[in-house]
């Protein structure tokens, strides 16, 4: 099974430098070879009825954070907003 490292890296938003590519490729190939050895299974995937997940209502939670608190870890802030590169051309 040949893995297209460059394509996977693009999907994962990772940069693999050219000098790292070969090492990465062989490590990945080794790991894929290990995980490939799975038996054939004919079963169907079904949901686990014994643990029904009770989802929360879509409402405001009772924890209150201030904007200040939540922005304190932001890399770049201006006028109370997160600064990011242009997203729309």
């Amino acid at each position: 099974m040949n893995i297209d490292i460059k394509h996977i890296a693009k999907l994962a938003r990772l940069r693999i430098e050219d000098d790292q590519l070969e090492k990465f490729e062989s490590e990945m190939q080794g790991i894929v070879n290990m995980v490939e050895k799975l038996p054939d299974i004919d079963d169907e995937l079904v949901l686990d009825a014994s643990n029904p997940m009770k989802l929360r209502k879509d409402e405001v939670a009772d924890k209150k954070f201030t904007r200040q608190e939540l922005m304190q870890n932001a890399p770049k802030v201006k006028a109370g907003c997160l600064v990011v590169p242009k997203t729309v051309e």
Binding site: R13, K54, P75
Partner: protein, 472 residues
């Protein structure tokens, strides 16, 4: 938990910090220390005790926290460059419970980056050393948590376990570690690695301490949709040393070629001791064990690749300094912010979930997971607990396995199946090899049978007269 005026929290906390000052240079268990706050917390607890207040058994006890559990106001890095300066605005639910009990927080403990690793060598900051032999690894990913207990740098610690990350370091460092049943402890605030496998759990020098902390951190949490709706016992108060009639299963697949003969013999000897006390031993088989490692790496990497997609340099954490446009910012941030092992797992996860490969890998691994779960369930109809080695060998040397990811992964072979099956499991020391290195005995139970595990461990601890900590 000697708060009967034998020692004050202030004295105990100070002695722990004195110990940290004395040995941290050799052990490197901590990433962030919390001394000032800890002493203040201790003083607060002492005045409450002096006033005659009834407090939790954990009140005033110095506790260390693995650095992937969020602590409000205290830096939480997951041992990654990605979160080097991240200060959470909230506490993990398990943290809230520990704080409510009045515990004193010593600091944040070193780990493999984002919990991916088996030796704590994948920490962005530094490796942690095994207190039994500082040329050796303490295990991972909760290496700091196990080492701190063994070195006396905390009384108890919290770690997390996704593929063995509490049990394996507990085994290498000769301490007691418990991975609860999936769903027993809330994952809210545990920085996500593999959401269907992760659990927070306690580590300590003795079974009683671990039992006590476990009771404090369990419970349903509406902030974690995967947490179980259940009531839990006071584990410590129900501990007993009677092994009569306990049915122990020995799965032949866990005693195969890859396991060191001394480890094998030590585990079998420990089980023999339990047999002398009335336990009944039976050989069993778990045929799907062969595929457990593969299905673990597929499932955990797939979930990790999804969970780590949030680290994009936008709202928090590391952001690359130079970039040209949004996509470039993402790529550079993630490439500079993550270490090699994390990138490997993200790549593997992305691959198994990608179009054309999903059926062959991820879907198959999930089907296999169900088969593994039902194999265990079937065995637990006739037995109470499974005994096996925790790791195939004793602690290896720093740098010994870093060149070969597959060799590193193979050290997890005895532990990963348990996470896949969602079962509770413990590791306790059962022997020491020629080099004085601890061997871990793993006990695995059916879902929500932590009391049985703790009792079995407690009984064994009683037989051997306690577990020894290393001289540093």
């Amino acid at each position: 938990m000697l708060k009967n005026k034998e020692i004050s929290s202030t004295e105990l906390t100070k002695s722990v910090f004195d110990r940290i000052k004395a040995v941290e240079g050799k052990v490197d268990a901590y990433l962030t220390l919390n001394e000032e706050n800890a002493m203040a917390q201790a003083a607060d607890i002492d005045s409450k005790l002096d006033a005659g207040e009834e407090l939790s058994p954990l009140a005033g006890i110095p506790v260390g926290i693995k650095d992937n559990i969020t602590t409000k106001g205290l830096r939480t890095t997951c041992a990654s460059r990605m979160l080097e300066n991240y200060v959470p605005p909230f506490n993990a639910t398990a943290m809230e419970k520990v704080l409510d009990s009045g515990a004193v927080i010593t600091g944040k403990l070193n780990m493999d980056e984002f919990a991916m690793g088996s030796s704590t060598e994948n920490s962005y900051y530094k490796p942690t050393k095994n207190p039994f032999d500082t040329d050796r690894i303490p295990g991972g990913s909760s290496g700091g948590s196990a080492a701190a207990v063994a070195a006396g740098e905390a009384v108890v610690t919290l770690g997390s376990d996704t593929g063995g990350s509490i049990r394996q370091p507990a085994s290498y460092c000769g301490v007691v570690g418990l991975k609860p049943t999936y769903g027993a402890v809330s994952r809210y605030g545990l920085v996500a690695f593999a959401s269907s496998l992760d659990q927070i759990g306690p580590l300590g020098k003795c079974v009683k301490d671990v039992a006590m902390v476990q009771s404090l951190i369990v419970g349903h949490d509406k902030l974690d949709a995967t947490s179980a709706y259940r009531e839990y016992p006071n584990y410590e108060s129900q501990l007993k040393t009677d092994l009569k009639g306990l049915k122990i299963g020995l799965p032949k697949e866990y005693f195969g070629e890859g396991i060191d003969p001394f480890v094998k013999q030590s585990v079998l000897n420990a089980v023999k001791e339990m047999e002398k006390q009335g336990a009944v031993v039976k050989e069993i088989s778990l045929p799907s064990t062969d595929y457990a490692l593969s299905s673990y790496y597929i499932i955990s990497s797939a979930e990790a690749s999804s969970n780590l997609a949030r680290y994009d340099g936008v709202r928090y954490g590391f952001r690359a300094e130079q970039f040209d446009g949004l996509t470039d910012m993402y790529e550079r941030t993630r490439s500079e912010g993550f270490g090699d092992e994390v990138k490997r797992r993200i790549m593997l996860g992305t691959f198994v979930l990608s179009s054309g490969f999903y059926d062959a890998y991820y879907k198959k691994a999930k089907l296999l997971q169900r088969r593994i779960q039902s194999e265990f369930a079937q065995q637990f109809e006739d037995i109470d607990v499974i005994a096996a080695p925790t790791t195939p060998s004793t602690a290896f040397k720093i740098g010994e396995n870093t060149g070969d990811p597959l060799k590193m992964y193979a050290t997890d072979i005895c532990t990963v199946t348990v996470n896949i099956a969602g079962l509770p499991a413990m590791s306790i020391p059962c022997a020491y090899d020629n080099n004085g290195l601890p061997v871990g005995l793993q006990l695995i139970g059916n879902r929500f049978t932590e009391q049985t595990l703790l009792n079995t461990a407690y009984a064994y601890e009683n037989i051997v007269g306690g577990f020894k900590m290393p001289e540093l």
